[in-house]
Structures are given as structure tokens and as C-alpha cells.
């Protein structure tokens, strides 16, 4: 009888343990519905081939897109032609199209006087008080404003776009929520500009809708900054169609304030960057935060232009002029900027970002040079203050603090921390632990005056005497390297030891990085089980030294293992089986403890019975 009991007990425990993984293997496409990882040769998708090599088309000079469409036009159904006309041809206005050529002949302004694209003259005059007598007069104002942008860029030495005259359309962009847009038109390669493209611009018909805040920025102000912004995009297409989008917006938005410093519209975008400064400066277009944060990066151009000269930005654009795209993709601008800084300015992008980030706190910006002679006294006050990642008011600050005194930074990013003194604290000693790619600076503010202090002799700590009498102390950490996932930590009680920081590989990207093995096993970075393990790493492992050491070791050894797992379906299944109890323990800690106790409860009597059974077989009486 006892044999049967033993076997039933073993079977029950086995059954329980073996069924567990079934709960861990729920690869559900519905969890992957949004923002799944890129296809990158994952063995799960072995049926898929991504293009091995992609080449830019050997474009034919003067082969307009509409000519290509004309070639195949008769093959298309009427409904198709209608769709094509809307999506690919030049804009079609709501009424009869009228054309006004600018005084200098560089622009053709297309407008209409009927339908939704017709400018609202009464509203324009209401906001501008300029008394435009006709729509044609407003179109003339548009033409003059674009001519001003043309002269401005030509004066700065920019190569003008290939289209001449350049087409500008006035249309209602309210439904799109756009001031304006610039679209490429035809590839126009030449010996000096082999990847150039012509383009055209559409701007809102009158900028009087409430989304443009016409009470704050008059329609004429919006027209001014939009014309200088969009026309620089046209210039960018003329340099190289494959430009990097984040730097294109940083350049166009910077020029808004260079030509029209009195408008001050571009300052409202800066805080988006400062409030999320732990993101890399070259934010990809696909990032959900791109619209909120990319435009504000124009202020970095101001730093460079004021430190060196305004021509530095032009040199960046000239540098991408001859660069061929790789696999048809846009040309990453950060390496180009770094290269130009190294070659012509004895600097690097990392050095300049560190310098810039200091300026964010020191606020020692030179005042703008008034290009137009307008009053720009409000300029410096428009630059927002630094935004700390965390603020501390109680001490000591260490791993037990509610805001963890540690950060993982991607390439070319920065973080500020603020320390507000309690009245009883006489001195503050900040101890840092960081890798070499991270640069640090400590500032103190007293009576509103800001100054930077030097580190102690050890180079890793800063002592701030009379802390209680200060307004605040600020710590700046900047990843000045091209590596992602650089970590740094700090404390005010010396508990952070030098060397306790870790570096994760660029591909793992700190808090954005994945658990390689789990990702390989589950086939997706965004699988809920992988996300669970990632959160466990961030919330529990990275908050203490042993945990960080474990994570560091894991990232060192796991990539080749993960690669092997990803290539073999059997290994993926086996890995899921092995990960199941780990996930169960992470997901349901108390339940996991209970299961372990139950298993232990089963195991003890079963092992006892086994021992009795073996003893009995040997004829031993226990």
C-alpha cells in the first residue's frame, strides 16, 4: 500500500510542477498589438527575410514624380486616379487656384478665394490690425515673408533649394494640426548634391484658428516663424534627402528665433526636452515623445552658435551633402555633428553636451543679437529652468531613499538632481560612483547666485560647507559617450562605493533594455512576461549593489546564450519551462512561497517512504 501512496505522491508533485509552465507560455498576439519590437532576424520569424542590402535608386535627373504617375496613369482605375491625385500630386485647393509670384521671383504663392482653403481676411485683420484689402494682399504678404527667409538663408551662405521659383500653397491645415509642411518632390542629383531633392511647402491659409493661439502669436508672427522654419526644411532637402529628422527640426526651429527673435514662439518647446533630459539628444522619429521633445533641441544649436558662430550649423548640413544613405535609411546626424566638431572646432559632441547641460543650470546664455532690431529683452527669461529628475529634502540620501539616487543614461543625455538644505545640516558631502563615459558637475545656489564647485581630492566626492545656508545644491550627470546604459549612483552618507556602478551594453539600453534570454525565449521584448522580468530588474535588482552586480554579470554572459536560444525552437521551449518558476515567483511571490512549502511538505514524507522502501528491500528494519 505504501508503494502506491509513494507513487501517487510523486505523480501529484510531478503533475503540479509540469503544469506550471503552461501558465507561462501564453504568447498572445494581443499583448503585442502595440509597439512590438522590430523584425531583426529573430528565429521565431524564420520565414521572413528582411532586405539584405538596400540601395538608393539611381535616380534620373529631372524625373518628377508626377511624370512617373503620368506614365502609368492610363493603367489606373478612375477611383485610383482620384486617390493618387490626393495623395501624391501637388496640393489641390478648395477653389479656383490663383498664383502670385513674389517680388524677387523666388516663390509662387498658390491660393484660393473660395472654399475651406480661402484665407479669412476679416480674422487676419482682426488679429494683425494691418488692414489687408484683399486675399491677394495677404498672399503678397506671404510672398514677402518667404522672400525674407530666402534672403536670410542666402546671406548665411546656404545653398538654395533646387526649385525656382519655389511653390508655396495656402491651405487649411487646422484638421492636421500643422502650421505648415514641406514635402519632397523630385530627386535632383548633381555633382555637388548627389542626394538632393526638390520640394514644396504648404502653410496654413491664415493662422487664425484657435489652435495657433492668434491672440498670443498674431497670424503674421505665425507666418514669419513658419516660413523660416519650413523653408529651412526645403534647404535640407536640397542638401540631402536622407537627413536625420530630429536635427532637421532642431535646425528649423532654431532659425525661427534667429530671424524673428521677437516672436519667442520656439521657447515653448524647450521644456519638453528639459523635463525628459534622460533621453538621448538624437531622439528617433518613431519615439512617442518625438513631437513633444524634439523641437526643443533647437536650444542646443543656440549654444553651439553662440560659442562658435552661426556658421557651425551650416557646416553640419554641408557635411551630410555627399553622404550616401545606407540601406535607404536616413543618415544619423549625431556622428556627423561629432565629426565636424572634432575636425573644425577641436571639440566633440560629448564635450558640447556637457557644456550645454551646465549652461542649463548656470543660465549664462549670451543675449541674442537682434537681427531685426526688435525688442528681445524677454529672450533670456523665456529659457525654462532645469528640471531635476529627483529632489531631496531629507537626509541622508542613499539606496534607502524614496527617490533612488541612481540613474541609467543612454548616449548623449543628462540628468539633474536637486538637494534642498534642511536647517540643521551644516555640511553636505556628495559621493559619486560612475563610469568614465559619465561626466559630473555640482552647483550651489546662494542668494540666487549660482556657482560650480570642484570635487574633493579623491575626484569622486564633493563637500559643500554650510549647506544649511544655501538655497540649493544641484548635481548634474551627463552621458557624454556614444554608449547606452551607462549607470551612476550617489549618496550623501558615503555609502556608494567607487566601482559599484555598472555598464550595460549599448544594445541593452538601461531601463529600456531587455532581458536577453527571456526575450529570446518568448520571442518579443514586449511580451508581458518579459516586461515582468524587466520591471523586477529595475525595481528590485538595480536598487542595490548585489543586484546591480548580478545584472552586470547577466548582461555579460547572456547575449550569446540568448542568440543560441533564439535559433532553436526546442531551446526556446525548454527555456520557457525553466523560466516558469522564476516568473511565478516574481509574479506571485506569496503563491510561489506557498507552492514551495507544499512541495516541501510532499517531499518529506515521500522521501521518508522511499527510504523505508529501500531499507525494506535490503532487509533492514528501521
Amino acid at each position: 500500500m505504501h508503494k502506491i501512496l509513494v507513487r501517487w505522491a510523486v505523480a501529484a508533485v510531478s503533475l503540479f510542477l509540469l503544469v506550471l509552465p503552461a501558465f507561462a507560455g501564453q504568447l498572445d498576439d494581443h499583448y503585442l498589438a502595440a509597439f512590438a519590437p522590430k523584425v531583426s532576424g529573430n528565429a521565431l520569424e524564420k520565414a521572413i527575410l528582411v532586405p539584405a542590402t538596400v540601395a538608393a535608386r539611381a535616380v534620373r535627373s529631372g524625373t518628377p514624380l508626377k511624370h512617373g504617375l503620368s506614365r502609368d496613369w492610363n493603367k489606373l482605375e478612375p477611383a485610383t486616379q482620384k486617390v493618387l491625385a490626393k495623395q501624391l500630386a501637388l496640393p489641390v485647393l478648395s477653389g479656383s487656384e490663383l498664383v502670385l509670384v513674389s517680388a524677387e521671383g523666388h516663390f509662387r504663392i498658390h491660393y484660393t478665394t473660395s472654399g475651406s482653403d480661402s484665407p479669412d481676411l476679416a480674422s487676419i485683420n482682426n488679429y494683425t490690425h494691418l488692414g489687408f484689402a484683399s486675399t491677394a494682399a495677404w498672399a503678397g504678404q506671404v510672398a514677402d515673408t518667404f522672400e525674407a527667409a530666402y534672403s536670410f538663408y542666402r546671406g548665411l551662405g546656404y545653398h538654395m533649394p533646387p526649385s525656382n521659383p519655389f511653390d508655396v500653397y495656402l491651405a487649411s491645415l487646422v484638421s492636421l494640426g500643422e502650421y505648415g509642411e514641406t514635402d519632397d518632390l523630385n530627386k535632383t542629383p548633381s555633382a555637388s548634391y548627389p542626394y538632393a531633392s526638390s520640394s514644396y511647402i504648404v502653410v496654413d491659409k491664415d493662422f487664425t484658428d484657435s489652435i495657433f493661439s492668434p491672440g498670443t502669436f498674431s497670424p503674421l508672427d505665425s507666418l514669419k516663424v513658419t516660413s523660416v522654419h519650413e523653408f529651412h526644411h526645403a534647404v535640407q532637402y536640397g542638401y540631402n534627402f536622407y537627413f536625420d529628422v530630429w536635427y532637421a527640426e532642431a535646425s528649423s526651429t532654431w532659425f525661427e528665433g534667429e530671424l524673428y527673435p521677437e516672436v519667442l514662439q520656439n521657447y515653448q518647446y524647450i521644456n519638453g526636452w528639459f523635463a525628459d533630459s534622460t533621453r538621448q539628444i538624437d531622439l528617433p522619429q518613431s519615439d512617442p515623445s518625438f513631437n513633444d521633445e524634439a523641437y526643443g533641441r533647437w536650444i542646443f544649436n543656440r549654444h553651439l552658435a553662440q560659442k562658435y558662430s552661426a556658421t557651425i550649423v551650416r557646416k553640419f548640413w554641408e557635411a551630410i551633402m555627399p553622404i550616401a544613405p545606407i540601406n535607404g535609411a536616413d543618415i544619423p546626424m549625431a556622428p556627423v555633428v561629432n565629426s565636424v566638431l572634432s575636425a573644425s572646432y577641436n571639440s566633440t559632441l560629448g564635450v558640447e553636451l556637457f557644456d550645454f547641460a551646465k549652461k542649463v543650470y548656470l543660465r549664462d546664455w549670451p543675449t541674442m543679437t537682434a537681427v531685426t532690431g526688435a525688442d528681445i529683452s524677454a529672450d533670456l527669461g523665456q529659457i525654462p529652468a532645469y528640471v531635476p529628475v529627483a529632489s531631496y529634502t531629507s537626509y541622508p540620501v542613499n539606496a534607502a531613499s524614496s527617490a533612488v539616487p541612481a540613474v541609467t543614461l543612454p548616449h548623449y543625455s543628462f540628468a539633474y538632481y536637486k538637494f534642498t538644505p534642511p536647517t540643521s545640516t551644516a555640511a553636505l558631502t556628495l559621493t559619486l560612483a560612475k563610469v568614465s563615459g559619465i561626466q559630473a558637475a555640482v552647483f550651489l545656489k546662494v542668494g540666487g547666485t549660482v556657482s560650480e564647485i570642484s570635487p574633493n581630492a579623491d575626484g569622486t566626492s564633493y563637500t559643500i560647507a554650510g549647506f544649511g545656508a544655501l538655497d540649493e545644491v544641484a548635481l548634474l550627470l551627463v552621458n557624454t559617450s556614444t554608449s547606452d546604459g551607462l549607470q551612476a549612483s550617489f549618496s550623501t552618507d558615503g555609502s556608494v562605493q567607487s566601482g559599484s556602478t555598472t555598464t550595460t551594453p549599448a544594445s541593452s539600453g538601461g531601463s529600456k533594455s531587455g532581458c536577453f534570454i527571456a526575450t529570446a525565449a518568448y520571442g518579443s521584448y514586449l511580451h508581458p512576461k518579459v516586461a515582468l522580468l524587466r520591471a523586477f530588474r529595475d525595481d528590485y535588482l538595480l536598487t542595490n549593489a548585489p543586484g546591480r552586480l548580478f545584472v552586470s554579470l547577466y548582461y555579460r554572459v547572456s547575449p550569446p546564450i540568448a542568440d543560441l536560444i533564439a535559433r532553436h525552437s526546442l531551446l526556446r521551449g525548454a527555456t520557457r519551462l525553466l523560466l516558469a518558476p522564476v516568473i511565478l515567483a516574481v509574479e506571485h511571490g506569496r503563491a510561489a512561497l506557498l507552492v514551495m512549502l507544499i512541495c516541501f511538505g510532499f517531499a518529506v514524507p515521500v522521501l521518508g517512504k522511499v527510504r523505508d522502501w529501500r531499507a525494506a528491500r535490503r532487509g533492514i528494519v528501521v
Binding site: R7, A11, S14, L15, L18, A22, G25, L27, D29, H30, L32, A34, A36, P37, K38, V39, N42, E45, A47, I48, L49, P51, A52, V54, A55, A56, R57, G68, K75, L76, Q81, V83, L84, Q87, L176, G177, E178, Y179, E181, T182, D183, D184, I211, E230, F241, V245, A248, E249, Y269, Q285, S286, F290, N291, A294, Y295, G328, S569, R572, G573, R576
Partner: protein, 169 residues
């Protein structure tokens, strides 16, 4: 009695192991893989907005699916593979509003050539997608831009074809 119990337990164990293996794998051989276009490349899984997705399975033609549709398996002929892709205009920016990341190019002719000879011209659908079956080999796929891709026997190549770039704001 003892023998019956052993057989029963062994059978039970095998059954549990088999079920567990199937549950753990969750992607048995022969299951379709689904992809959608995110504005720059094809990514796994269906799109969040229920837009067109491409169902892919080795040995079968890719299937373009609208929301709620199921893929129907059609064999790829021996020695052939498939091309499936989308023609799109890249769209980025927007100071006031976040718009779509791309604009599909409907009814756009896509030329497939190899060795300098055009082997097929297909038209994109109303969502900018296209697909074609070709003999395994190296091809140049061209709309406004061009890509080169190797099509393997029984496999599908997913191709994002950028046809333009719009800077919104």
C-alpha cells in the same frame, strides 16, 4: 494491480509532458506569423489600430489581412518565394498634434526586376500594400525608391518602400 498503476502513471506522465510542451511552445510549426507596418519597418504582431497586417508562413503565400480576417493558406509553388510590402510617405513632426507616422501610397506601381529585366509590375492596394510571387532569386523592387532583396525558396520578404518624406511643421 501494481502493473496497472505503473502503466497508468506512465501514461499520465507522458500526457502531462506532452500538454506542457505544447503549452510552453505556444507557436507550433505551421502557425502564421503576423506583422504590421509601424511607419518605418514591419514589426511582429497586429497593429494597435486594427489596420492591415501581413500573415506569413513558410511555404505559403503571404496574406494581407484586414481586421478580423483569417489567413487562408495557399501553397507557394516549388522553387518560388514571395514579396510583400508597403509603399509609404514618411511623415514626421507636428508641433500642435501628433499625426500618423506615414501616409500609404495607394495604387502606386511597383516594379520588380532582376538582371536588368522587369519581371513584374504590381499595383499597391488602397492601403499601399502589394504582394507578388516570384522565382527564388535576387530582385530589385522599385517605386520611387528602390531596394534589393534576395527571395528564398518558400520564404516571404517584407519590404517597406519609402516613396517620400513629409516634414510636418
Amino acid at each position: 494491480m501494481s502493473t496497472s498503476v505503473n502503466v497508468f502513471l506512465t501514461g499520465l506522465l507522458l500526457l502531462v509532458i506532452s500538454l506542457t510542451a505544447v503549452a510552453a511552445a505556444k507557436r507550433p510549426v505551421g502557425k502564421w506569423n503576423f506583422f504590421h507596418f509601424d511607419g518605418s519597418s514591419f514589426v511582429s504582431g497586429p497593429s494597435a489600430d486594427g489596420g492591415t497586417q501581413v500573415a506569413v508562413l513558410a511555404g505559403f503565400r503571404p496574406v494581407l489581412l484586414k481586421k478580423g480576417e483569417k489567413p487562408a493558406a495557399v501553397d507557394l509553388a516549388a522553387g518560388t518565394g514571395a514579396l510583400a510590402g508597403i509603399c509609404f510617405i514618411q511623415r514626421s513632426g507636428g508641433k500642435l498634434k501628433r499625426g500618423p507616422a506615414y501616409l500609404p501610397c495607394a495604387a502606386m506601381p511597383v516594379q520588380i526586376s532582376t538582371g536588368g529585366k522587369v519581371v513584374a509590375t504590381v499595383m499597391t492596394d488602397d492601403q499601399g500594400y502589394f504582394q507578388v510571387t516570384v522565382t527564388a532569386g535576387r530582385y530589385r523592387i522599385e517605386a520611387k525608391e528602390a531596394v534589393e532583396v534576395t527571395v528564398e525558396n518558400g520564404a516571404t520578404a517584407l519590404i517597406p518602400l519609402r516613396a517620400g518624406k513629409r516634414m510636418a511643421d
